[in-house]
């Protein structure tokens, strides 16, 4: 986020009906929101649909949005988290492990072999994350992928910072276990068993 990006001012303008302010908010947050959702759901198309829904809800909710000191993105991530929860509530959990993300716009790496390896690793990581409990998924992605501070994650997940700090170790351990199940190459991550 650039230092010249005065989000409070942009939000105020958006609440006053300025279209370019909405565009700015979308521009600033679309990619991180999509990235977060794509870790949590099974397909790119679904991640795109949910991303669109996040911003539609943002538009509908903006008149009532109140700046309480936390970055705007915390509100958007919370909307996204709720949408994902709703999605899985509707479809049930049977689909969660079934369909890996097949299409990708992940990397611009020119080396095709390296790109393939990274893509494979990325898919394994996403697959492993999606097999974790929901709270672990949110915490790992928001903390280590999107690099949100604890205060914002606490707002998104409705947890205390202390609880999140304690949970992250369990989440990392669970992720290491899942990765090792998918590919024994990762076994060393949870006990030097390689």
């Amino acid at each position: 986020m650039q230092t010249t990006y005065n989000e409070h001012e942009i939000i105020t303008k958006a609440q006053q009906g300025r279209e370019e302010a909405i565009s700015s908010l979308y521009e600033a947050h679309a990619q991180p929101i999509f990235d977060y959702i794509s870790y949590r759901v099974e397909s790119i198309a679904l991640a795109e649909d949910l991303t669109a829904e996040v911003f539609l809800r943002m538009v509908r909710g903006l008149p009532n949005y109140q700046d309480k000191g936390l970055p705007f993105r915390a509100w958007l991530f919370r909307i996204a988290a709720n949408l994902i929860t709703d999605h899985y509530r509707q479809v049930g959990h049977q689909q969660r492990e079934a369909i890996p993300i097949s299409e990708s716009h992940e990397s611009d790496d020119p080396d095709p072999f390296d790109e393939l390896a990274k893509k494979e690793e990325g898919m394994q990581l996403r697959q492993a994350i999606r097999m974790l409990p929901t709270e672990y998924q949110d915490l790992l992605v928001l903390r280590f992928v999107e690099e949100l501070p604890y205060a914002e994650i606490a707002k998104v997940m409705n947890k205390s910072v202390v609880a999140l700090r304690a949970m992250q170790h369990r989440a990392l351990k669970a992720l290491a276990e899942q990765l090792a199940k998918i590919d024994p190459e990762y076994s060393w991550l949870w006990g030097n068993r390689r």
Partner: protein, 344 residues
């Protein structure tokens, strides 16, 4: 993460997470979503007025309210002084003209219950004075002061005056009647005056922009009117000696003892009301009454009710049912305000 303690394995995993390729949002899809969002924004902007803070939204109203508050303070002070003088010496009550300015000299007014009738803002000329001028002329018999406030900006003509009735023991009561300019959450705007209604009050589901409503309330410290009564029918509506402030028309949705649900609003009948015995779900009724608090519920206490027997909503193309959005749904007819326009 600086203050977190991680094992080497955890750090390796965190690094793995951080270095994992990011999923990129396809530019074409992103642009498509942006257009979708902007369309939604335009649609929302058409139905919901832009949110601004009430103070910023009504600088003119603040000026006007400041002038009203100043004039009220002056008149009340004069009234109290007069009353004190009356106890010392009873002068002869004669007609007189009183000029008030922001720093007036106190002039005795012989009136036991003064009532201020403040006319709607009037444009006096193309170049009105920048500061409001206040002049007051008490009528000889009832001691009513008519105050005219020239203002600097154009205000829609009012259909009814604003009446301010100060008493010795309470804050001035403000009465505003006019068309609703906007409804944002529990904030109603009439003549650019912000009126705050209790957030979950059922009246909010009964009124729409353009409806003429009457509001009673008190000014708060921010110059907003805290509504104590919002009426969607004329206050002069009196049935069997009891005034009704709210009109509600719609089908009976449920009946529970003497509580009847109409358009999502709980209507409380007198338990002895004979209509209750024959009332059935689905019947269309027209209710006039007053909102009152019953426990944690706000109910419409019936003053008068009429069962409409010859109405067929389906064949009236001008009527439709407002789907519940943030609040409850209700019937609306073109050009008739709420319900079928009955009782209005």
């Amino acid at each position: 993460m600086n203050d977190d303690q991680f094992t080497p394995e955890e750090l390796a995993l965190i690094q793995h997470l951080q270095e994992a390729p990011k999923q990129r949002l396809n530019p074409a899809v992103s642009e498509s979503i942006r257009q979708q969002v902007l369309e939604e924004f335009r649609a929302t902007a058409r139905t919901i007025p832009p949110k601004t803070s009430p103070i910023k939204q009504y600088p003119q109203a603040v000026k006007l309210l400041g002038a009203i508050a100043a004039s009220l303070a002056i008149v009340i002070a004069a009234f109290l002084l007069l009353k004190w003088n009356n106890t010392q010496d009873k002068p002869e009550a004669t007609p007189f003209a009183l000029a008030l300015s922001p720093t007036p000299s106190a002039t005795p007014i012989n009136t036991p219950t003064p009532t201020l009738l403040i006319s709607p803002p009037v444009i006096e000329s193309e170049t009105p004075p920048t500061e409001p001028e206040i002049s007051a002329t008490p009528l000889p018999t009832e001691s009513i002061l008519t105050i005219t406030l020239p203002v600097t900006e154009t205000i829609p003509p009012a259909t009814s005056p604003v009446v301010v009735t100060p008493t010795e023991t309470s804050l001035p009561v403000v009465i505003v009647e006019g068309p609703v300019q906007s409804i944002v959450n529990n904030f109603i705007t009439i003549y650019n005056l912000t009126i705050v209604v209790e957030p979950q009050h059922p009246i909010l589901t009964l009124i729409d922009v353009g409806d003429v409503v009457l509001v009673e309330g008190n000014f708060d410290a921010n110059g907003m009117v805290m509504a104590t009564l919002v009426s969607n029918i004329a206050t002069s509506t009196t049935i069997a000696g009891t005034a009704a402030s709210v009109g509600l028309d719609g089908p009976v949705e449920s009946i529970n003892g003497n509580l009847v649900m109409v358009n999502g609003i709980t209507v409380q009948f007198d338990r002895a009301d004979p209509i209750l015995a024959s009332l059935q779900v689905g019947q269309f009724i027209s209710v006039q009454g007053n909102f009152t608090t019953s426990g944690s519920l706000i109910v419409l206490l019936v003053v008068n009710v009429t069962v409409i027997t010859n109405i067929n909503i389906q064949v009236n193309p001008q009527c439709w049912y407002h789907e519940p959005g943030m609040g409850m749904g209700h019937w609306h007819c073109d050009g008739m305000g709420m319900g079928m326009g009955m009782g209005r």
